[in-house]
């Protein structure tokens, strides 16, 4: 391989690495806008959760057929990367199939296995593409779910098409390579398990054309992978990386438990005379609840970047099923959109966020959506990567009620009843025990 190609390759690799590094640091910075929350206790349990849910894809298998198809793509992604490693090394050192001499007879078996995976990815992604675009899966249909219109649909299709094209490139490259090997142009290591069936397609071509196809597919494949790697960081597809930390740092408490607000506890105890004022200056409590992403925990924000918009949450949401505006997927997408807007804001203003007059609550998520939630945990249960849309909803509700006294009139009556009668209904507390008259 001419040195020019090597230099070019190294430059491209460097550029991709630098671009990704920059992009990842922006994402990290926006996640760091969230409030601190310690989620490092019980590391053993966390590790095992991550291994089961992310590595083992446990929840994906709740729907077995899709689970298997998704697993094919996932396994393909993980393992074909080993071959990509060889490609990158070849590109840097100007070698051809660097690992073949080292692995000997095992090499064609390994490549054959990778090809099988590539075929699996090809088939699964084709099925996904058809399924997604024929309206056979309601949760993926933009006609039914407004949050999918525009970019999200394009994003989803782009990812699938890129994956299909990349797999075709790798199989074509191997087929052309095997033909050249047969003709003694390259060292013989093939033919390989799957690409051998493509060889007849190219067998009528001359050596020059085959070399061109082999090199062309090689460059196309690796440049495609580089481009995809950068693209992923701007896309919903980021779940392929974030599923791992996101499941590791999940909250390990029972789902029903809402986060306590210690700032409120102190005030309540003072009011009830259970604690005397220590005279210390009270710590600035900040905002009660959440109005914007900075008021949420960093984990809520990582959740947003981990969402791949599969919509299982929305498909299981009782409010959404019965036609209300709430869609838990939209809550996550809105949170991410807000983060992305702030990320761009930061980049444009030298690392500082310039006030844009916008907030997550109001400009992205509306009161009507929040108020439709029954807190039933179906969305939380449905998420294959342990995202929690409900937690965001509840924190936004806290802001509405505690900072803005913005609640439906009937909730205000309920609050009043609680204050006056210690029950959500208007009954006299003195009558609370009257039921006992009925036991005999």
């Amino acid at each position: 391989m001419p040195v020019v190609q090597q230099v070019l390759f190294a430059l491209v690799l460097g550029f991709v690495g630098w671009t990704m590094f920059r992009r990842i640091s922006v994402i990290k910075k926006t996640i760091a806008l969230g409030k601190p929350e310690d989620l490092t206790d019980r590391p053993g349990e966390r590790l095992s959760t991550m291994l089961r849910i992310a590595f083992g894809q446990k929840k994906m298998f709740d729907r077995p057929v899709v689970g298997v198809l998704h697993f094919l793509v996932y396994a393909g992604f993980l393992l074909i990367n080993l071959e990509v490693l060889e490609i990158v090394l070849d590109g840097l050192f100007g070698t051809h199939r660097l690992l073949a001499p080292l692995l000997g007879g095992f090499y064609p078996i390994l490549i054959g296995f990778f090809e099988l995976l590539a075929l699996g990815v090809l088939v699964a992604c084709s099925i996904f593409l058809i399924r997604r675009n024929t309206g056979s899966v309601p949760r993926l249909s933009p006609a039914r779910h407004r949050e999918l219109n525009g970019w999200p649909v394009k994003d989803a299709n782009t990812i699938l098409v890129i994956e299909i094209v990349l797999m075709i490139a790798i199989l074509s490259m191997n087929a052309a390579d095997s033909l050249l090997q047969e003709r003694g142009e390259l060292a013989a290591t093939g033919p390989y398990l799957v690409s051998r069936w493509l060889m007849p397609l190219f067998s009528g071509l001359g050596d020059g054309a085959l070399h061109a196809i082999e090199r062309g597919a090689w460059w196309f494949h690796i440049l495609g992978i580089f481009a995809f790697a950068v693209y992923v960081t701007y896309s919903k597809h980021l779940h392929i990386f974030l599923a791992f930390p996101n499941t590791y740092f999940t909250r390990l408490k029972p789902k029903g438990e809402m986060e306590n607000m210690p700032a409120v506890t102190k005030e309540v105890k003072l009011m009830l005379g259970l604690q005397t004022d220590s005279g210390e200056a009270p710590a600035e409590p900040g905002r009660f609840g959440a109005k914007d992403v900075m008021d949420l925990s960093w984990k809520n924000l990582m959740d947003a970047y981990s969402c791949t918009e599969c919509g299982r949450c929305t498909a299981s949401c009782p409010a959404n099923i019965t036609g209300k505006k709430l869609s838990p997927r939209k809550i996550m997408m809105d949170t991410r959109d807000r983060l992305e807007d702030l990320g761009r804001n930061m980049l444009a203003n030298g690392g500082e966020i310039k006030d844009d007059g916008k907030f997550l609550l109001g400009d992205y998520i509306t009161a009507e959506e929040l108020r439709a939630c029954t807190t039933c945990q179906a969305c939380v249960e449905a998420c294959p990567v342990l995202i929690n849309p409900l937690d965001i909803i509840l924190q936004l509700r806290r802001y509405q009620v505690m900072e803005e006294s913005d609640a439906p009139a009937s909730w205000n009556s309920m609050f009043q009843n609680l204050e006056n009668n210690q029950a959500p209904w208007k009954f006299s507390p003195g009558d609370r025990f009257n039921w006992a008259e009925k036991v005999n």
């Binding site: 306590n260 179906a378 309920m414 029950a423």
Partner: protein, 261 residues
């Protein structure tokens, strides 16, 4: 037998401690329909000979609806006051027939200084059955189709799925599952403060969606384990004009009525 409902105040005055505190909850105290569940459960406790007590007028709302609606301040006012009472009486173990009270007492009171062993009445009844202390005479429900509607705060929120089903099975009834059950169960529509407000605009009410599924099983009895589910399912049955053929009962009612209590 003459049923008794001792209060913590009475027992403490007599120098006694109960085995368990029965937390009645607001619905169990005030809602006419759910008071029948409270009564059924108290009769079971009496029949089995459990040494229990209630707080009577010293009980007040756990604060759950306020917290879910976003009013943390009001929630904590309720919670801290309740914890004061519970701790004053040295309460160790609590049983309740309300999954919302159950979740709040069990998971959310510890952060505010209230640490108790809290169990839902479905688990409590299952344990009594398992220990042979509670016999369930299958009679009335034998072979009858019963479908169980999972409460979100019992199921997904706290992973209690089997105890309610074990009770229905102990009745020798024909437990028929809805398609959406256990962790995939569909909410009745009342959680998260929805019980206390009109639903947001939509195509349908959640309880109607759910009752259609329940009716689809062909069951004559819809078993519930939560006061809010009770209201929503009962309204759903009325909406479908099936109140003559389909009844909604709490698990404690099923057990008590099977035994003629």
């Amino acid at each position: 037998m003459e049923y008794k409902v001792p209060t913590m105040a009475d027992l403490t005055a007599a120098g006694e401690t109960p085995e368990v505190l029965f937390w009645v909850g607001c619905a169990g105290s005030f809602d006419d329909r759910y008071k029948r569940v409270t009564v059924a459960f108290v009769r079971i406790l009496n029949q089995v000979g459990i040494k229990f007590a209630v707080l009577g007028t010293e009980e007040s709302c756990t604060g759950d609806p306020a917290r879910r609606a976003g009013n943390e301040f009001l929630f904590q006012m309720q919670a801290v006051a309740n914890i004061e009472v519970l701790n004053m009486y040295g309460v160790k173990k609590i049983v309740t027939a309300c999954p919302h009270c159950f979740n709040t007492l069990k998971n959310e009171y510890p952060d505010l200084g209230g640490n108790y062993e809290v169990i839902h009445h479905s688990t409590f009844l299952q344990q009594l059955i398992d220990d042979g202390r509670l016999k369930v005479q299958g009679g009335a429900f034998k072979g009858r189709k019963i479908t169980y509607h999972d409460s979100c705060y019992l199921g997904r929120a706290n992973d209690v799925y089997e105890a309610p089903r074990a009770i229905i099975t102990a009745l020798d009834a024909d437990l028929t599952e809805m398609k959406r059950s256990r962790k995939n169960g569909l909410c009745c529509g009342a959680g998260g403060g929805q019980m206390f407000k009109e639903p947001e605009p939509g195509k349908k009410d959640v309880n109607v969606e759910r009752i259609e599924e329940a009716l689809g099983t062909g069951a004559e009895t819809v078993a519930v384990a939560c006061p809010f589910c009770m209201v929503m399912m009962t309204d759903g049955v009325k909406n479908k004009e099936k109140e003559d053929t389909v009844k909604v009962f709490d698990l404690a009612e099923l057990v008590a009525s099977a035994n003629g209590w």
